[in-house]
Amino acid sequence: MADVTVDQVADAMFDLVSSMKGKRDLKPMDVSKQMMEKFGDEVDKKMCKKALRTLIDSGRLTYKYAGGSYVTLPEA
């Protein structure tokens, strides 16, 4: 696979969180771990943090607090 971009990771994260909507809340670390599994060596924690940040800053995803911190889709 060619070099993975931050945007690709962000899109994959977004798909993951969307697919889990209503089933299970995911923590930022859960999302990142799954990305590192999916993309293998090409993606590290730093890159995941960047991808997460673009998602949050653009408003595609948002943080939520319920005892601990989670990432989720913004309320419509």
Partner: protein, 397 residues
């Protein structure tokens, strides 16, 4: 005085007596409808012995995962003005030094956007703004940042670090707590605003083992000033003290390791056995002071009893240099190693101290890459079934 919307006989009790009263202070702001409803709802809680604040949800400013704590009334139909009553944490300056101008700016901003009620300061150290609507959150944040302020931490992130007054006013400070606190706050902005941990992480910086910020009980990482050479003694001043202080009973006998001797003329300290408890220095401040080779002990794992029980920090690194010119690189490196390990393997809502208890200190140390040392032992084992390695006996001979 503003007329009160609700009768609050229970709260009124708390205005009696010579001490400060939060009820008295809240009533000063009772010209606001929001504050009237706070009084009404809190009185109700006192009657019913139950909180009517709901917690959590999706509030915050764009891009941040912390700093605003969602609070809602579960009696919103009745106390409509506190239906939304969110808490804002504002990152305080190191050791809480303000100019009066800074305080006025903060108060003016808060007057414009919220209830006017503050808590100076919350137990994390932040300036706490109590009670705004959801709609007010972004405009408040905009005004705060324009004036040079920022939100602090909440949720599973690095919480706003705080420090004792340190060298600004205290001669016992063994390092510059204000600078270290500021440096770490700036360095870990991402961790402060974007939750990535299993649970909260608190840093507190104390200049000496007197620990005026109670870091050992209240933080996951306590950075406590210490020294590794000799306590500085001014014998002439000790003699002075001897006129009014019973040195033998009040100093020597209270030294936890009994490493001080007093013959009526000279005070002798066996520094190799001093455990830096500060007792002798606290009682004889003009005669004794910490040594000159100063730095900090790094302790890990304290917490208050929210999920599990309370824990105190225990020693992790006995001595770390805290030279501002080094940019605290060693502390940062150690912190990141711990965050990586705990971040990856910690369970949801598991503080680092609980994590260490679960996986075992020896495994934790091995993963971080530190060797175990005697200073890490909180108390020696009282169990007699201890099997020494042979080589220990050999070197003893």
């Amino acid at each position: 005085m503003t007329e009160m919307k609700y009768k609050t006989p229970l709260l009124d009790e708390l205005e009696k007596g010579p001490w400060p009263s939060f009820v008295k202070e809240i009533k000063k702001e009772a010209h606001r409808p929001m504050v009237q409803d706070v009084l009404g709802q809190v009185e109700r809680s006192y009657e019913e012995h139950i909180s009517h604040w709901k917690h959590g949800g999706l509030v915050g400013v764009m891009g941040y995962g912390g700093g605003v704590i969602g609070r809602y009334s579960d009696l919103a139909h009745e106390f409509t003005n506190v239906a939304e009553f969110h808490t804002h944490r504002v990152n305080q300056p190191s050791a809480w030094f303000y100019t009066s101008d800074a305080l006025r700016t903060l108060c003016d901003i808060w007057d414009r956007h919220g209830s006017g009620l503050t808590n100076m300061h919350g137990s994390t150290g932040d300036i706490v703004f109590l009670g705004s609507t959801t709609q007010a959150i972004e405009p408040l944040f905009k005004d705060l940042t324009a004036a040079g302020w920022d939100l602090g931490g909440s949720g599973s992130n690095m919480r706003t670090p705080s420090c004792c007054v340190g060298p600004a006013r205290c001669e016992w400070a063994c390092y510059d707590t204000l600078d270290a606190c500021y440096n770490i706050t700036q360095n870990f902005q991402d961790e402060l605003h974007r939750p990535f941990f299993p649970y909260k992480w608190k840093f507190k910086f104390a200049g000496c083992p007197n620990d005026c910020v109670a870091s050992i009980a209240r933080s996951d990482c306590s950075v406590m000033g210490t020294w590794r050479d000799e306590i500085q003694v001014n014998q002439a001043k000790v003699l002075e003290y001897a006129k009014t202080v019973d040195i033998e009973n009040e100093i020597c006998d209270f030294c936890p390791t009994r490493c001080i001797e007093w013959d009526g003329k000279t005070l002798e300290i066996d520094n190799s056995n001093c455990v830096k408890c500060m007792h002798c220095i606290n009682v004889l401040p003009k005669a004794l002071k910490p040594g000159k080779d100063r730095g900090a002990t790094i302790l890990i794992g304290g917490k208050a009893p929210i999920v599990g029980g309370a824990l105190l920090c225990s020693v992790f690194v006995p001595f770390l240099e805290m030279d501002p010119d080094s940019d605290y690189e060693d502390l940062k490196e150690l912190t990141e190693a711990i965050w990586d390990l705990w971040g990856e393997h910690g369970k949801m809502r598991e503080r680092v101290g609980e994590f260490i208890q679960r996986v075992g200190m020896s495994n934790f140390l091995e993963e971080i890459g530190l060797d175990p040392i005697p200073e890490m032992v909180m108390a020696p084992r009282s169990n007699p079934y201890i099997f020494f390695d042979d080589e220990i006996f050999e070197t003893e001979e």
